[in-house]
Symmetry: C2
Amino acid sequence: MKCLIIAAGKGSRLSRKGNSKPLIPLLGIPLIERVIRSANQAGIAEFYVVSGYNGEQVRPFLDGLAVRCGVTVKHIINDDFEQDNGLSVLKAKEHLSEPFLLLMADHLFDPGILQELLKEPPEPGAITLATDNNTANDRVDMDDVTRVRHEDGKLVAIGKDLADFNAFDTGIFLCTPALFEALERSAAEQGDSSLSGGVRLMAGDGRVNVLDIGGRFWLDVDDPRALDKGERALLAQLRDKPNDGPVSRYLNRPISVRISRTLSRFPITPNQISLVSFAVSLLAAVLFAMGGYPALAAGGVLAQFASIIDGCDGEVARIKFQESDYGGWFDAVLDRYADAFLLFGLTWHAFAGSGAPIVLFTGFMAIIGSFMLSYTADKYDGLMRLRMARGKGWRMGRDIRVFFIFLGALLNQPFATLLLIAALMNAETIRRVWVSREPG
Amino acid sequence: MKCLIIAAGKGSRLSRKGNSKPLIPLLGIPLIERVIRSANQAGIAEFYVVSGYNGEQVRPFLDGLAVRCGVTVKHIINDDFEQDNGLSVLKAKEHLSEPFLLLMADHLFDPGILQELLKEPPEPGAITLATDNNTANDRVDMDDVTRVRHEDGKLVAIGKDLADFNAFDTGIFLCTPALFEALERSAAEQGDSSLSGGVRLMAGDGRVNVLDIGGRFWLDVDDPRALDKGERALLAQLRDKPNDGPVSRYLNRPISVRISRTLSRFPITPNQISLVSFAVSLLAAVLFAMGGYPALAAGGVLAQFASIIDGCDGEVARIKFQESDYGGWFDAVLDRYADAFLLFGLTWHAFAGSGAPIVLFTGFMAIIGSFMLSYTADKYDGLMRLRMARGKGWRMGRDIRVFFIFLGALLNQPFATLLLIAALMNAETIRRVWVSREPG
């Protein structure tokens, strides 16, 4: 399926954020790159982009992006970008003789919307418009959004000033080439060369289907406020990870997403963030081992800080389309080393103070228990998903472990902390092995 | 697909091993259970068993087995078991009106043979015989085997005394009900009521296809020598595990399969063996921690012994059809604990002797390195299979680690051993992380 993206407009309300609207970054990624990568996640690999205003900046960027993403991007130039956006669509007429997706360069969306849309192609001569039937959607700018009215799955009215409406136009269309003819007729007969004009004309013939996006995310980024709303919306999605433990959910994530928002503006890779978090943990372990309460307390704070940063690698990867199996694994391996060093530092601290063998043994049991918890996590998760038929439910994990280290260090109770971690982690490991055994 | 199994004969040459041949155990599992479980592995779940001699023992056993295996077993009784085996087949005539598999209760075989056979059903009115075209197969008893000659995929002669032959009859057939009619005709016209007689008659009409088993394992267990050969053959298969490290392959497995052979005769579960191996490792760790060379050396020997027993759980599981995902995981979890305790015992031993912090740190690094090696093993294996397109190749693992502990203890070099393990295991972990990274 080919995809046409309209990126010719001037976007004057965002001009202070950058002089080419499609290239304005949101969480470090230009708007048009987000559109192309989201569409790519839905399986689209062949793009036609209509550029106009500042096209000499947009086109080289897209050429580079095409290589990085492994997609093809063909340029269509519209020098009449000051006029209605229907003209931009019309420029693509000669390139598109089959059904195609039509997207706006400044509309963010959940790739799931495209997947739904692609399931039911419109009949020949018709088009389908993805609509947001939630008219209470507070991310929508009521002064600027295109309103629609639909009945029985067909569009009946469209326009910015529509008083009687029951949905919003998301700017996402699944089209047939019939749209081009409608745009030409609208321009010639009504003097209206806007995209809405062409759609309105087709709606009059009952040739515009509507498909509700079912509450999925979309956003038209037209001004600085919308840009900020978009960043907040993407960051909010990061906070809803089903496996997150309570410390992650209520303490670490709220802080880490704020850090990730800042980090996303810089060319820092998720693996580099993993390494930084690891280095901070190492430093904390060294502070533990140095002895004395001030170093212990400072180490505890650093350890908790490292645990917070440890959330950022995955968050930045997700908001910058850099997720990878390797990245997740690399982070997990570093986390295991970090945990072990923290606990060894704490053990050293406690043992140097008392010289009691039991301290050494307890520290060893805390290290092994923490490891076993990670070692058994994947198997346990898989089993729980299978047996309980649910993906939800947190598991005892790293967030709790490091939080105990943090508290224990602040309270100057290294041995009690080791004892608690050793008991909890090994007990949970044994519980997992027990509940996982075959029935009967 | 239904499966008919002939289990009526007396098997007098094995009578001193048990008074009902199908129930004589081979590595702890009765011959007929092996046949049914092997067929079940090839996807067969509906069995008809012709019992005769000592059928009052065979039938209750099969009823219990059916429940344990989740298959159905229907009994067919042949009181004429002293006569030719074709009569046993004929007793099943009224039960089988569709193509069916025909197996002998005393023939062991690789389930892959059935899978191959089931791929190409014979045309109506014909049957297919699985043949072993390797006439040099030294597991075959030349005085007793049924010899065959085939040309162009068709059987042309069959008999125990055939001088000019090019394959052996494996006793594995894919039949159509046409076989029953041939058996009746052979008995009536030739006075030959043996299975071979019926097959010979069909061969005369070109209605017996042959399929070579391609070197797969099969064995007719007719006498104590064959029983021993069968045990050795199954044990030999255990020794060829592609991921086995060098210590496993050349030291541990040759010993562990001998132990497994003995263990298989007792009602001991694989998980119980895992627990025993773990307990022996714990004992070794305690000996290490006690201090003094004699305890150290004894601990080293025990550790290596535990490592050898650690192979038996999987071996017994395989030869007794008790393999399970949980069993493998349970063993892995216990192994991680065992490794950690052994290394902690060794660290304690070395630290108590010297009191040097570097010893403690080295022991800690050995424990963490060993853990990381196991933690990264699955991911690394999967990746190597993918990238190198091969399933072969050993990985550095537990066998080497414990062998170093064994040697180090014997040579009274606990610190050097910890140093070596720490260096090797962490270096290998880092190497894995490095080679696994994404290209580019």
